[in-house]
């Protein structure tokens, strides 16, 4: 190990990470690293990237460097002049070839390598030894002033570099490199870098992973969930989505140029818009790759539970999986470690299995109750409603109980958590129950005869369906029908209602494609509903109504109003039509019972949506800094509308594990002033008045107030200041 490399131990305590001897702890490694890029704290100086990495302009170069592993530090590439000295003027542009380390260096490397590299499996095990982490310079250059979302996406972008650093045999390229992430053209890499002659080539070569999709997705989640948007989103960008009607523009402001329609319509279609115009993208719905619940079906790598609190790390027990390289596996693990959505899904899942927690106990009890069929339900609908009701309950418990560590609010911008939690809950509730629910649905519909009736109706309609449904547009041929059937079969297998909806939309898209093949024109419901009915009859899947019921009852209610909801409604309507006897008068297609059940369903789910919204509106989460001696910890604490300072402090005491809560006080810091809040204050009033420019400090009364400023040491940025910007 070169002498100039110094090691600092990262310790993990109570699910926070901190550098040894430092008073500042972080909810995750990403935050720790990004903090130390800005502030040195206990380090001799803030982290910066080695010049070779900072100067790299293409993915290839970074990859080549990362393949060198630890050896990079002692390689000639790692320029180590005095920190302030200007870089050598004639540093040649780096070519990937330069970075490739000759094979014979293997032994040299192993002799010199003193650094303990750790497998990513151990990354989060809390044994007190951190792992070496490379950060893509693009991250550093672009992250300034951008929101958490972008930051996260950039982490995703750089994970590959990290992967190879951690684990690949450092001197030989992997035998089977992982397939690169899907690439999008990058707008522009940082200007002024690299050789101009080669830049254009590199630019075109340097593609970004498909993050735009996810970014847009989460952008829209705010709307989907009705959760207030955080500041992570640029308000101007958001405003642009809402066009002022042209008439109004002309009336009100003649200077404002007419807004152009969204740049590229195809691009807009990328958005996963299940709700309110955020409907997915029939245009982009061809692959199943984004369907988490299906991925998981094939997922066979067993993973260690993430460390929570004091639970001891379990060694990983990877099963044999011949078709995936070790590297690929590793990248999956790392990816899931760094992607907050996946991390939350894992945290929630682990929590749900841990009976020692309130949440875990609640979930496990419910699963047992359901599996043993101890609950008697009057109908299939009642059973599904019970499940949905439980998901709602579990979600609010999860948000309130504070058992999720680190809290979700520290991992994701607010507007995303609803959706991410929803998916995480599907995973720990619906996934284990899927088979059971399917069986029971089947039993219900066998017993009430509706399954048989649908079988008969579909059978009878096989002939003459085109005429019966008045189809006047081209319909899918046998190949197309097979494709739709495949989509619907896959849909049956998915446990997540969201994934099911996406597959349903894919099936609808196949129908539209066939419809357009004749005239090439766009079709509305006049043409679609007949064609859909025809196709559904041809697919001949009598248990489709059960799938529809599953989605209608289990989808988060706000997801029922968008494009997904529309096509789900269309399938429902179509099935009603198919089921009605061909000779029946059109007016009688919808029986009184059907009408009644739609009415009930609509009312119930509408009320549910309103209730969920009301709950969301009545609470918010605040960052609270807890300081004790030289330690500061930041946690999120839920503030309910009804909370007084006193009741809020009780939660703080619980959250930070304080037993003699009487001697503690809650301090409000705003514009440099710090004052103790009296117990009977209404905290929500105070915080809403101050909007965002404040921080809350929970600490022992009488403690020297200046201590909280201890965080500001030579050159370090003020942590509480930083929090102010993130609380809003």
């Amino acid at each position: 190990m070169p002498s100039f490399v110094r090691q600092f131990t990262i310790q993990s305590k109570d699910s926070t990470f901190s550098l040894e001897n430092s008073a500042i702890s972080f909810p995750d490694l990403c935050r720790l690293i990004s903090f130390y890029c800005l502030s040195r704290d206990v380090l001799p100086f803030p982290l910066i990237l080695p010049e070779a990495i900072a100067k790299a302009t293409s993915h290839k170069q970074l990859e080549a460097i990362s393949h060198m592993g630890v050896e990079f530090w002692s390689s000639p590439l790692n320029f180590r002049g005095p920190r302030s000295a200007p870089s050598p003027p004639d540093l040649p542009p780096i070519h990937p070839a330069d970075c490739c380390t000759p094979q014979e260096n293997t032994t040299v490397f192993s002799e010199f390598c003193q650094l303990h590299t750790r497998s990513p499996f151990e990354l989060d095990c809390g044994t007190g030894q951190g792992a070496l982490c490379f950060i893509n310079p693009l991250f550093l250059q672009e992250q300034q002033g951008k929101g958490a979302l972008l930051k996260r996406n950039q982490f995703k972008r750089s994970f590959k570099v990290r992967v190879s650093t951690e684990n690949s045999s450092p001197l030989s390229p992997p035998a089977m490199p992982p397939p690169p992430p899907p690439l999008l053209k990058k707008e522009k890499s940082s200007a002024g870098r690299g050789n101009p002659a080669t830049r254009s080539e590199e630019d075109s070569e340097y593609m970004l992973p498909c993050v735009a999709f996810e970014r847009k997705t989460s952008h829209n989640l705010g709307d989907v969930t009705g959760f207030p948007k955080g500041l992570a989103l640029s308000p101007t960008a958001e405003e642009e989505d809402y066009q002022m009607p042209k008439i109004l523009q002309q009336e009100s402001n003649k200077d404002v140029p007419e807004k152009l329609p969204p740049a590229i319509p195809g691009d807009e279609d990328l958005v996963l818009m299940l709700d309110q115009g955020q409907a997915p993208s029939l245009n982009e719905l061809d692959s199943c790759s984004s369907l988490s619940s299906l991925e998981e079906v094939e997922e066979s790598v067993e993973r260690p539970p993430l460390t929570r609190g004091t639970s001891s790390p379990t060694p990983p027990t990877p099963r044999h999986r011949p078709h995936l390289s070790a590297l690929r596996k590793m990248s999956e693990v790392l990816y899931s470690f760094f992607a907050p959505e996946k991390r939350i899904a894992r945290l929630v899942e682990d929590l749900s299995r841990d009976r020692r927690t309130t949440f875990g106990m609640l979930v496990q009890d419910f699963l047992t109750l359901q599996r043993e069929s101890r609950e008697e339900y009057a109908s299939s609908g009642a059973m599904l409603q019970a499940v949905r009701g439980f998901i709602n309950e579990a979600k609010s418990l999860l948000l309130e109980c504070g058992e999720l560590e680190p809290p979700i609010e520290t991992l994701l911008p607010d507007e995303d958590n609803e959706f991410v939690l929803e998916k995480a809950l599907y995973r720990c509730i619906l996934k284990p129950l899927k088979a059971h629910i399917d069986t029971r649905l089947r039993t219900f519909h066998t017993n009430d005869g509706s399954l048989q009736m649908m079988k008969n109706s579909m059978q009878m309609s096989q002939q003459g369906a085109l005429k019966r449904f008045e189809v006047k547009v081209p319909v899918p041929n046998s190949h197309g029908i097979e494709r739709v059937r495949q989509k619907l079969t896959t849909m049956q297998k998915a446990y997540s209602p969201i994934d099911k909806i996406i597959l349903l939309l894919q099936a609808c898209k196949c129908i539209y494609t066939a419809m357009r093949s004749g005239s090439g024109s766009d079709h509305g419901a006049d043409e679609f509903l007949p064609a859909l009915s025809y196709v559904l009859v041809q697919c001949n899947m009598p248990d489709l109504p059960q799938q529809v019921e599953y989605m209608m009852e289990l989808l988060e209610p706000s997801l029922l109003t968008g494009e997904g909801g529309y096509y789900l409604t269309s399938v429902y309507a179509s099935l009603c039509l198919i089921q009605s006897p061909p000779e029946v008068q059109p007016k009688r297609i919808l029986t009184q019972e059907m009408r009644e059940s739609i009415k009930q369903w609509s009312k119930r789910r509408g009320t549910e949506a309103n209730n969920l919204r009301a709950t969301r509106d009545s609470q918010k989460f605040l960052h609270v800094v807890y300081t004790e001696a030289d330690t500061s910890v930041v946690k999120m604490v839920v503030l309910k509308k009804t909370d007084s300072v006193e009741s809020f402090m009780e939660k703080c005491a619980q959250k930070f594990g304080i037993s003699e809560a009487d001697s503690y006080g809650l301090f409000l810091r705003s514009e440099g002033d710090m004052r103790l809040l009296s117990l009977d204050c209404h905290l929500q009033d105070i915080t809403s008045q101050l909007d965002s420019g404040f921080s809350l400090i929970y600490q022992r009364c009488g403690q020297d107030l200046s201590k909280t400023r201890k965080l500001t040491r030579g050159g370090a940025i003020d942590l509480t200041e930083q929090l102010q910007s993130s609380t809003c």
């Binding site: 709307d223 079709h523 109003t561 409604t569």
Partner: protein
């Protein structure tokens, strides 16, 4: 759905608008014209026109419109309630050259008023005014009828892109007003405007239906 920003004063509304009318009256062209600003005889960027959305900024209020198309053929008429449940607005389209399509609109109005009450904003739209020479529905009659049922009447041409912006803008304003009134009535002032859902009030307009069901000609599913 109202997702008003945490500290901001601007509100956002989400409205569901259902599109009703006989086949061939030009429902699809109308809504395509509005959402894509093009008539459907040339460029095609989307595959479908059954479900469309539009985001608007009306006087600082953000409006998310979701437009649900329905199949207009007689055979599909009965499926209406499945589509129009929870709608904030309905656009009932007829073809000014087709007297029959205007009668169909009247049927829809009756049904909607019965099922959804007065809270749904109704727009009656005479489309194809580019074919005014072949007009079969008198302007006075149509406007008079609209007024009598508390609906607004509009004349449009999807082909010439006439009257469509006005129609939707006006509808949005009315839906905002209704939502605000709703909100005030609730008196909670919380941002739940526009999503105040109304359950479908299904009133049985056919008393003989029960007898028919008893007679076994209706499925019980």
């Amino acid at each position: 759905m109202a997702s008003g920003g945490a500290g901001g004063g601007s509100k956002s509304y989400s409205f569901k608008v259902v599109l009703l009318g006989e086949g061939c009256v030009g429902k699809t062209s109308l809504v395509l014209r509005y959402c894509e600003n093009k008539f459907n005889d040339k460029h095609i960027t989307t595959l479908q026109a059954s479900f469309l959305t539009k985001k608007l900024n009306i006087g600082g209020k953000r409006v998310n419109l979701a437009i649900w198309d329905t199949a207009g053929q007689e055979r599909f008429h009965a499926l209406g309630p499945i589509y129009y449940r929870d709608s904030n607005g309905a656009i009932l389209v007829y073809d000014i050259t087709d007297e029959d399509s205007f009668q169909k609109v009247k049927n829809w109005v009756k049904e909607l008023r019965k099922m959804l009450g007065n809270e749904i904003c109704l727009c009656i739209v005479g489309n194809k005014i580019d074919l005014d020479k072949e007009r079969h529905v008198a302007i006075q009659e149509a406007e008079g009828y609209a007024e009598s049922v508390g609906a607004k009447h509009y004349h449009t041409s999807a082909k010439l892109n006439k009257g469509i912006e006005e129609l939707f803008l006006d509808l949005c304003k009315r839906m905002i007003e209704t939502a605000q009134a709703d909100e005030r009535a609730k008196g909670n002032g919380s941002n739940q405007a526009g999503t105040a859902r109304r359950g479908v009030q299904i009133v049985d307009d056919e008393p003989q239906n029960a007898a028919a069901a008893g007679g076994g000609c209706c499925s019980s599913g």
